[in-house]
Each structure stands twice: as C-alpha cells, then as structure tokens.
C-alpha cells in the first residue's frame, strides 16, 4: 500500500522503527499532491520546501536518537483561515489574497512544537461561509470520491486533501458544521471540539461565539492524537476553557457496554436521503448489539435552530468582517474619499455569499430589527441549548446523520442559498450549544460516503471518541479509499 494511504499513527510506527524516513514520507505525499491536485484542487498554497525542511529536521532528531511525537514528520494540511507566520493565509478571499500573517495561530505553534510537517493551506468557502467550498474566491475543490460532486464545506479543501491522500491529517474550523459535513461527504473523520477547548487565537474570525478548530483525519485514533496536541487553555483566547486536557488516546477503547445513546427524532428531517436514514438506523442496531442502550428522544426546538443560526452567525460576521476596509491589510481599491474606498474595496473583493451574510447580519442588528431578529435568535439559542441539557440528563451521547444527504453535484445548489443552508440542519444545533461532536463514516450510498454524527456533553470528547472508535473497529468503512487517479 502506498505511504500516503496510511494513517498518522501507522506512519509514526514506521518512522520510529526507521522503516521509512520523514523525508521519504513527505516526498510521497508531495508526489501525490503533484499527481492529483490538478483534479481535486484542495490546496490554495503549497509549502513543499518548508515541508521537506521540517521532515529533514525530524529525520535528524531520529538519527540522534531523540524521541519524537506522534505527528513528527507526518504531513498535514491547515485550512487557510488558520494564520501561519510568513505563509500566505487567504481565507479563500480576494480581499486577503496577498495577506502574510506576522504571527502563528496557537494551533500552528503547537503543531510546530511537535514537529508536524505542513504541506499547504487548504481551500475553503470564503471566510468559512458555505457548505460546498464552491464559495472559494479562487476555485472550487472537488470530492475525491466523485470529482463531479462537492467535498462539502466550508473545510472542503482539508477534508478532500485527507481523503485523496494529499495530506495524512488536517485541521479545519467548524462554525455550523464546517468540519463534520465535509468529513461526512469525503468519508473521513471530523471532530468539532467543545467551544473553548481549542484556542481560536489566529483563526480568522467568522462568528466568534460559534467558531472552533478541530481535526480531520483518516480514523478516530488519529483524531484523538491531533486533539491531544491542539487542545488546551490559551491566555491569548479570552474564551478558552481553563481546565486540564485528558489524554484522548486513553478513550480509544473498543467497548461501549452500558453507553446510553439518544436518537433525537427531529433530526430525521423531511428531504433526508433514505439511504442515509437506513445507514444510521443500521449503525444504531449494531451499537446496541455491541452493548449500548438506545432510546428515541425529543429535542423540540431543533427546527428553530437553523433560523436562529442564520441570524446569529451573519450578525457576528457583519461585525467581524468590518475590519476588511483596505486600510491596515488586504486588498484596497482607491476611491474618491475614504467611504468610497471602503465600499469599492469591499464590493470588489468579497464574494456574493460573504456579501449576503454581511447584509443579513447588518440588517438583523440594525435599529428597528434588532429585537425581532437578533435578540429573538439569541433567546431561541437558549431553548436549543436547553434541549441538549435535558437530553444529556437521560443519555450519554446523541446520534444523528451528519448531513441529510451525501455529497451533491457542483453547481446544484449555488443559485439557491436557502437550499445550501438546509444541508447544515443536523450540525448547526451543536455549535449553538457549544457541545462537541464527531462525524465518522458509516456507509455508502451510490458509492458516496455517509457520515454519522455522535454528539457529546460539554467537554465530553472522551465519550464520543470511545463510541466512535468502537463503531469504527467493528466496521471497515474508514478503510475505503477514493480510487482517484488509479482507475
């Protein structure tokens, strides 16, 4: 099997056993990028030279007999909204097309401290606004399982890179499902941590009360390893949770006896693909056979979550994106006066979806509409969160589909923003409530991967990792690999 098809933990074993070198592995992944990225288009910026230098440094350490971490020398990708010192960070927006951050995001610093190799910066929906990566200001990414379909979004480049063998692991960010939904569409594992678990310092803000960075990996084991590295308190993020980080790999236990699973009936929405529903039901049956208990529960405010989100997230975005004014960084278009400069700069360089959300948010926050839209949405957010609090009094985890369908065709939903938003219906309530959730592969429909979402209590990452690991170890879905370039 080619090196780029292995998981990080497998490759780590090979590196420390000196079966392969980090440079050899990095070259294999860079070679894979050379041969398939023209079709997949997962990367905005490639950092091949620094990647090889990082790998060389790891090989030197190993030659000196030093102990190296599990991600040392393992090539990965960062979503292009995670700031990397000296490496262009564009958010897939023309407004930041030439932006070179003068500092590293905390997660980038932590990964560097573990000697992880960074292959490049992954494509995304502009400013993380979208669910298909078609809103990238540069080019769309294609799903490695079927190049005519979308990889999901907004972390579509990260998920596609991992699925295509163009990266062994990746980081994404998740505001309304942007790690989990592309992971589901691309047949990989995506984890959105509890809000505050991973530092947001250096993550370009979209909706600050919802954004969270997390791993996209080939299996649950790698997800736990990456979580160990990126989690933890950071004084530079005022919303960081100041509690210790457990060793998540201790939760890689193939045993869910007695685990109480809740199946919220409201998540099985109209328009859901019957194959998706069947796959989830089959997974539940299997988990019960493995010793879990399950009950159907009701989360009555689920249907309101999407509407609340599409007021709250744009409102926060309209405020966060006010900084793109052509003054201190980014694109500038000259105008007759400063207001004209702002307008011309922003109108020329933002894409349609970003403009739509800025407008929607500005409207929801504007005088006369604030109470009717924004404040009401915040109150509904309370009710959505209470649904989770009540559910977790009865069960340990909740299981739902990650998305109502498998990956759709490119262009299918681009003219209908609302239809695109409906893809987020199963993931959005999780962000509104701040709880952690993981998406893992649980089947295929017409050759395309289906994702199952396991939602946990606040800081309940260990429980969802254990449940996900148990399911994974009793199935083979995660072992499939897109046949890209090998047909």
């Amino acid at each position: 099997m080619e090196l780029f098809k292995h998981t990080a933990s497998q490759l780590h074993e090979k590196i420390i056993e000196k079966e392969i070198s980090a440079v050899e592995l990095t070259k294999a992944v860079l070679g894979r990028v050379d041969s398939v990225d023209k079709d997949v288009q997962a990367y905005i910026t490639r950092t091949s030279e620094t990647a090889l230098a990082q790998a060389q440094a790891v090989d030197s350490k190993i030659q000196r007999g030093e102990k190296v971490s599990v991600l040392a020398g393992i090539p990965g990708a960062l979503k292009d909204n995670i700031c990397t010192k000296g490496i262009k960070t564009t958010c897939a927006s023309k407004i930041l097309a030439t932006f070179v951050p003068p500092y590293d995001a905390t997660v980038a610093e932590k990964l560097a401290a573990e000697d992880a190799v960074i292959v490049g910066k992954a494509n995304m929906d502009e400013f993380a606004m979208g669910g298909s990566t078609e809103n990238s200001g540069f080019f769309p990414t294609h799903n490695p399982w079927n190049l005519e379909t979308v990889p999901g979004g907004s972390s579509g480049g990260s998920a596609a890179a991992v699925a295509a063998g163009e990266a062994i692991w990746a980081l994404g960010s998740d505001t309304g499902g942007s790690i989990r939904q592309p992971a589901a569409y691309c047949g990989v594992v995506g984890l959105k941590p509890t809000y505050g678990r991973v530092s947001r310092y250096g993550l370009v803000a979209y909706a600050s009360s919802l954004d969270q960075i997390g791993p996209i990996t080939r299996d649950v084991t790698d997800s736990a390893h990456v979580m160990n590295i990126i989690s933890g308190y950071d004084a530079k993020d005022s919303t960081s949770i100041n509690t210790g980080v457990p060793d998540y790999t201790k939760s890689l236990v193939n045993n869910i006896k007695g685990l109480k699973i809740g199946l919220p009936k409201e998540y099985f929405v109209a328009g859901m693909d019957t194959e998706v529903e069947r796959a989830i039901n089959k997974a539940i049956e299997q988990l019960v056979a493995l010793g879990a208990e399950y009950k159907e529960i009701s989360m009555p405010h689920t249907e309101y979550a999407l509407s609340a989100y599409y007021m709250i997230a744009p409102a926060e975005a309209s405020s966060n994106l006010a900084r793109y004014d052509g003054v201190s960084f980014g694109h500038r278009v000259e105008g007759n006066d400063i207001i004209d400069m702002y307008k011309k700069t922003r109108s020329e360089a933002f894409g349609a979806e970003v403009k739509r959300r800025i407008m929607l948010g500005t409207y929801a926050l504007s005088s006369g509409y604030y109470d009717a839209y924004y404040l009401k949405a915040l109150k509904v957010r309370t009710l959505v969160k209470q649904d989770f609090d009540k559910a977790f009094e009865q069960v340990d985890v909740l299981i739902t589909p990650t998305a109502p369908t498998t990956a759709f065709k490119l262009g299918e939903k681009t003219n209908d923003p609302l239809a695109m938003y409906l893809q987020d219906v199963c993931t959005i309530p999780v962000n509104l409530s701040g709880v952690p959730a993981i998406s893992i592969p649980c089947g295929f429909a017409a050759g395309m991967p289906i994702g199952m979402q396991i939602i946990g209590k606040p800081l309940g990452e260990e429980t969802i990792i254990r449940a996900a690991y148990t399911f994974e170890q009793n199935n083979d879905y995660h072992k499939g690999f897109a046949t890209l370039g090998e047909v």
Binding site: Y195, S209, D325, F350, S366, L378, V380, T382, L383
Partner: protein, 96 residues
C-alpha cells in the same frame, strides 16, 4: 415581502457595500426568502427566555496589566496597502 429594494440599499450603505440595480434585486429576493424562513422563530413564545450570546459562563476576562513583547512596527505594517513614515496611509478624511 419582508424586505424591499430600498431596505436592501440602506443595509448596503451601512455595510459599506455597493451594488448594481440588478444585483440589488437579486439580493432583495434572496434576503427576503431567508427572512421569510426566519419567520419560523415567531412561532415561539420567548418572552421569559434569557438570551444566550455565548455558551460559556465567562464574563469580562481580563489579563494582568503588564507590558509584554508585541509585534514590531515594521511587522505590523507589513501587510499595509499603503504606508508612510511608519504609519498606515489612508485617503484624506478632512477638508482643508
């Protein structure tokens, strides 16, 4: 209609964005559909519900008032579209 072209033009001004007539029409239609969808929120009685702006029980996180190293002026200006004498340069904002 929840929203008119005139409303959208006003929101555009507040957002520091400008649109052609046809773009304005498209946006009005799309925003109208989204606001129509958001109307579902009005089915709920939320009179006695506290708003949640943020899920963590955090308020006014402060750090100690200590000087720490920060970005050099050169680095802070390194992405500026235009700079002069160590400052960001913008078009004239006052008459005279």
């Amino acid at each position: 209609m929840k929203i008119t072209c005139k409303d959208v033009a006003n929101v555009a001004l507040l957002s520091r964005l400008e649109f052609s007539e046809s773009e304005l029409e498209t946006f009005t239609g799309q925003m109208d559909a989204i606001l129509e969808y958001a109307d579902v929120l009005n089915k709920l009685n939320v009179d006695n519900v506290q708003p949640t702006a943020h899920v963590l029980p955090l308020k006014n996180v402060m750090r100690a008032d200590e000087t720490k190293p920060s970005l050099s002026r050169e680095l802070a200006l390194s992405n500026a579209p235009e700079q002069e004498d160590g400052y960001f340069k913008v078009p004239k904002i006052m008459e005279g």
